[in-house]
């Protein structure tokens, strides 16, 4: 860093030392979160809403909320992120946000012309008690919603749940507002992909296409948050699930929900509203979880698994076979969101690695139970926690060091502090590219995860080996 060298290299060492603020001793902390492993619901709702074609996500709160969400998503995707805000003032927080939301709906449809506005609430509007359905009813009565346009909403107070549940709530709103059964079952399957990247959504669609299983996917952020350079600034890029598709989801013959926490509630809502039966599966990360997904899709759609998919599966297993010596009993510490970690832990255990610290910021009883079960045979003590922070994660690593860290960008402090190889995994990734273009789901995604793991571990071997032991062929 040029700026640092300006101040003299002498100081550099000192500065690095001083980044270390995590005490080794673990003490109970109830009233305090240090270095969060989560963020608030509204950003999840915004991300889900971006997966609808022609949608303007709308934050019903003060201006800072959506500015932060847009900035974070922009940093994660390096893409423009569109959203609007009710821009609460002191007046709105005393007299309620109705007039702000009505004015916002009117302005958005007049100037930006989206097909749909997806409103999510914030801690502010929830606490003052704005009743969104009532306000939307008024907007409709006052003809503020043009013919053929829609406004949907999800309640996402920031003091409940996390970004993951915010995503789930907005996804469920898509079902609540649109899915209608037309009385008979159409030959197609709904796939609710969960909070995964646009690249993962693409991969899931590709697998379905290989199986020749017609699907509807929602939300779908492909071509919205990983779009090409076009020379134009498009507010509403070409991707996203359409309203017609969302309506038709009510007549599909079945739903596959990937990730219980992010997608489960939507799948159940479809079942009870439109009698579309559902299977709630883990995210297809790793061999076993992908097997379950492919098998469920095959059965539900009544199709066969083509050789191309079998080959991909075989290639993934081939890499594991070839490289098993490097993976054997390597200790890993994971931090991230529940759905991702459940599948990732299962994958790591299945390739003979030892995930020994597994922590999520989202409170989820099911998570702890599942991880306990998956790691039951790991020959090492395993730390599992939900609803905790990165400080605890760091403390675990300090007390029982590992060979590899996996988590979002913020783990880089810990990686540097403890000098442990680190793979970026999850949300947000603010300092690397790739996640929006290359998947981590299904068999090919498994290969990518393996490539990353092996590269990190083997780079470390190269770095640490003596000149005498430095090896060409590995």
């Amino acid at each position: 860093m040029s700026a640092l060298s300006m101040n003299g290299n002498k100081k550099l060492k000192e500065i690095i030392m001083l980044l270390r603020h995590t005490p080794k001793e673990i003490k109970e902390r109830k009233s305090l979160t240090v270095n969060p492993a989560k963020t608030c619901q509204p950003i999840g709702a915004m991300y889900a809403a971006l997966g609808i074609h022609g949608c303007m996500p709308h934050s019903h709160g003060s201006q800072g909320c959506y500015a932060y969400h847009r900035s974070t998503l922009t940093r994660h995707y390096k893409e423009p992120v569109m959203a609007a805000s009710s821009s609460f003032t002191e007046g709105a927080s005393v007299f309620g946000g109705q007039s702000n939301l009505l004015q916002a709906i009117n302005n958005i449809f007049t100037i930006y012309e989206p097909d749909i506005i997806a409103v999510h609430t914030t801690c502010l509007s929830e606490t003052i008690g704005d009743d969104i359905p009532q306000i939307l009813g008024k907007a409709r009565a006052d003809n503020k919603i043009p013919e053929g346009k829609f406004v949907i909403h999800a309640n996402t107070p920031s003091y409940v749940g996390t970004h993951v549940t915010g995503f789930a709530n907005m996804t469920k709103a898509m079902v609540d507002y649109f899915a209608i059964s037309n009385g008979h079952k159409e030959p197609k399957i709904n796939i609710i992909p969960g909070w995964v990247e646009p690249s993962d959504m693409h991969e899931i669609k590709r697998i379905a296409a290989e199986l020749e299983a017609p699907i509807v996917m929602f939300p779908d952020t492909e071509n919205i948050l990983n779009g090409p350079q076009t020379g134009k600034y498009e507010m509403f890029p070409k991707g996203g699930v359409t309203i017609d598709e969302l309506v038709s989801a009510g007549s599909s013959q079945g739903t596959i929900a990937l990730g219980g926490l992010a997608s489960g509630s939507s799948a159940r809502a479809l079942d009870s509203k439109c009698k579309v039966p559902c299977e709630i599966l883990d995210l297809p990360i790793g061999i076993k979880a992908t097997d379950r997904f492919v098998d469920t899709l095959r059965k539900m759609a009544g199709v066969n698994v083509p050789d191309t998919i079998t080959t991909e599966r075989g290639q993934l297993i081939d890499i594991v076979t070839d490289m098993q010596a490097y993976l054997y009993h390597k200790k890993v510490a994971l931090v991230g969101d529940p759905d991702q970690l459940i599948s990732l832990t299962e994958f790591l255990v299945s390739i003979d690695m030892m995930p020994i610290h597994i922590l999520t910021g989202t409170k989820d009883k099911n998570f702890e139970k599942r991880i306990e079960k998956i790691t039951a045979d790991v020959p090492h003590e395993v730390n599992i926690a939900s609803g905790k922070d990165m400080m605890l994660y760091h403390q675990w690593v300090k007390n029982d060091p590992v060979d590899l860290l996996m988590g979002n960008t913020y783990v880089k402090y810990i990686a540097r502090d403890e000098d442990i190889p680190f793979i970026r995994f999850g949300f947000p990734i603010l300092d690397r590219i790739g996640h929006s273009y290359f998947p981590i789901v299904c068999y090919r995604g498994g290969m990518r995860i393996l490539e990353k793991i092996l590269e990190a571990l083997m780079d470390r071997i190269d770095r640490d080996s003596t000149e005498i032991a430095f090896d060409l062929v590995m």
Binding site: L4, H21, Q63, Y68, K78, S87, E90, L124, M235
Partner: protein
């Protein structure tokens, strides 16, 4: 492409120089539903106080506000790094119902015991203003118990704009100022204000002042330390950069301690030199200072001139758009871009006032578009219309510019290189040059021969 419309109510916030009589509305709340690039009160307070590295920064509210502001500003510290942690009371539903004061108290006590900070700032977020936690009394209590200043920052997001957040931050800082001893403070001392040490910029500026023979008492708030802030009222002059953020504190210190202030900018050769001369002029009873200043300016300019000329040759005639937080930054930017031979065809800010915009108008050529609180559609519309080669802005503007196939220079929190001072001007020129003349634009569908093709509706 459909022609981009401008909201009727927004039209008065946009001015076309040379085409109409000057009138621009500003300082308005953003319209509900417009896609503004603005943020909130909390954001303003947080960015201003964040660089104080040996203080505890505790965010009282639900988790989001703490998550989104965890180490997002590259404000460097030469010592402690406590400011780069994220601390939150992480309020849950029950706390919203029963109040969060107890939680706040416990969190503060725990953190102070653990990190022994020299002061603590407690940021009130939106919800605190609604549920009515008395953070002042909690802060007072903890301060008494722990023997360090614990300062409430009234930064509820909805209580105004980012500017009000600056004000709240200044008021919190004002409580610290004047609580330390100012014995031994020399006659030739100043405070640097509104300089946040992004990429080490405050260090550059401090070095200049020291070379001039001046003593820097405190920097607000880049590489900031509580102790120096406490003693900052011993300085003889406050030198304020950045239009909005530190003016309130400078005013308070003038009223309370009789310390005069001057406004400066450290960006671009012209304004940087003017800043140093203005400061030297203030201390004119000491002729040595002016002499040393002249030498410094001469040497620095001599050192960078040949390289600047090189860049100017290449960049001459290219067109730039600037969109910044405070308008003050825009003035320097226009001059600096002119130094590089470039022309500013679109200029705007999130929070400028009428005076700012008048000045902007006077500086700009006919045909320049001036906007207040613009949205990305408006920005992209004018970029295309004005055939812009370079956009200077912040995090939310970067991907928009790139999608259009326009070069970009970050002049906000996320810049990685120092743009202040003379060395900063070279960095700026390099960055502008590398982006404007990047070979990637040959693949950009929107551009032909280096210019954007006409995108008339």
């Amino acid at each position: 492409m459909r022609s981009i419309q401008i909201l009727k109510e927004r039209k008065r916030q946009i001015y076309h120089k040379g085409e109409e009589a000057f009138k621009i509305e500003c300082g308005k709340k953003s319209l509900a539903g417009s896609v503004s690039q603005r943020a909130c009160v909390f954001c303003g307070s947080r960015v201003v106080l964040y660089p104080i590295a040996d203080a505890l920064h505790l965010i009282h509210g639900p988790i989001g506000c703490a998550s989104y502001t965890w180490d997002i500003r590259g404000a460097l510290s030469s010592g402690p790094q406590l400011h780069r942690m994220s601390f939150s009371t992480d309020l849950q539903e029950n706390d919203i119902i029963f109040g969060g004061e107890k939680k706040l108290y416990q969190a503060l006590v725990k953190l102070i015991d653990l990190y022994h900070p020299n002061a603590a700032f407690v940021y009130a977020t939106c919800i605190i203003g609604i549920i009515g936690d008395d953070i002042d009394s909690v802060c007072r209590r903890v301060s008494e118990e722990k023997g360090i200043p614990v300062l409430p920052v009234h930064s509820e997001g909805f209580k105004g704009t980012k500017k009000d957040g600056y004000k709240a931050a200044c008021e919190a800082l004002a409580q610290l100022v004047g609580t330390g001893s100012i014995e031994n403070r020399g006659k030739y001392s100043l405070n640097i204000m509104g300089e946040f040490n992004i990429a080490g910029e405050a260090w550059t500026i401090k070095k200049y002042y020291e070379k001039m023979g001046l003593e820097v008492a405190a920097i607000f708030t880049g590489d900031g330390r509580v102790d120096k802030i406490k003693k900052s009222h011993g300085a003889k002059l406050n030198v304020v950069q950045c239009s909005g953020s530190m003016m309130r504190l400078a005013q308070i210190m003038e009223e309370k301690y009789g310390i005069p202030y001057i406004r400066v900018s450290y960006f671009g050769i012209e304004d940087m030199s003017k800043a140093l001369y203005d400061v030297a002029d203030f201390f004119k009873d000491n002729l040595q200072i002016m002499k040393q200043t002249r030498e410094l300016v001469r040497e620095e300019i001599k050192a960078i001139s040949p390289e600047i000329k090189k860049y100017k040759k290449i960049l001459s005639g290219k067109r730039a758009a600037i969109y910044v937080g405070g308008a003050f930054k825009a003035f320097s930017m226009i001059k600096a871009l002119r130094t590089l031979g470039m022309e500013v065809v679109l200029a705007g800010s999130q929070t400028g006032n009428e005076e700012d915009y008048k000045l902007l108008r006077d500086m700009c050529e006919d045909g320049t578009v001036i906007v207040d609180d613009a949205n990305p559609l408006e920005l992209s519309k004018y970029c295309l219309e004005k055939k812009v080669d370079l956009f200077v802005g912040g995090v939310k503007e970067r991907p928009m510019a790139y999608k259009l196939g326009i070069g970009f220079c970050d002049h906000n929190h996320e810049r990685k290189i120092s743009l202040a001072g003379y060395s900063g001007m070279i960095n700026f020129a390099k960055e502008v040059y590398s982006s404007v003349s990047s070979p990637v634009w040959q693949f950009a569908p929107g551009r032909r021969g280096g210019y954007i093709k006409d995108e008339s509706p």
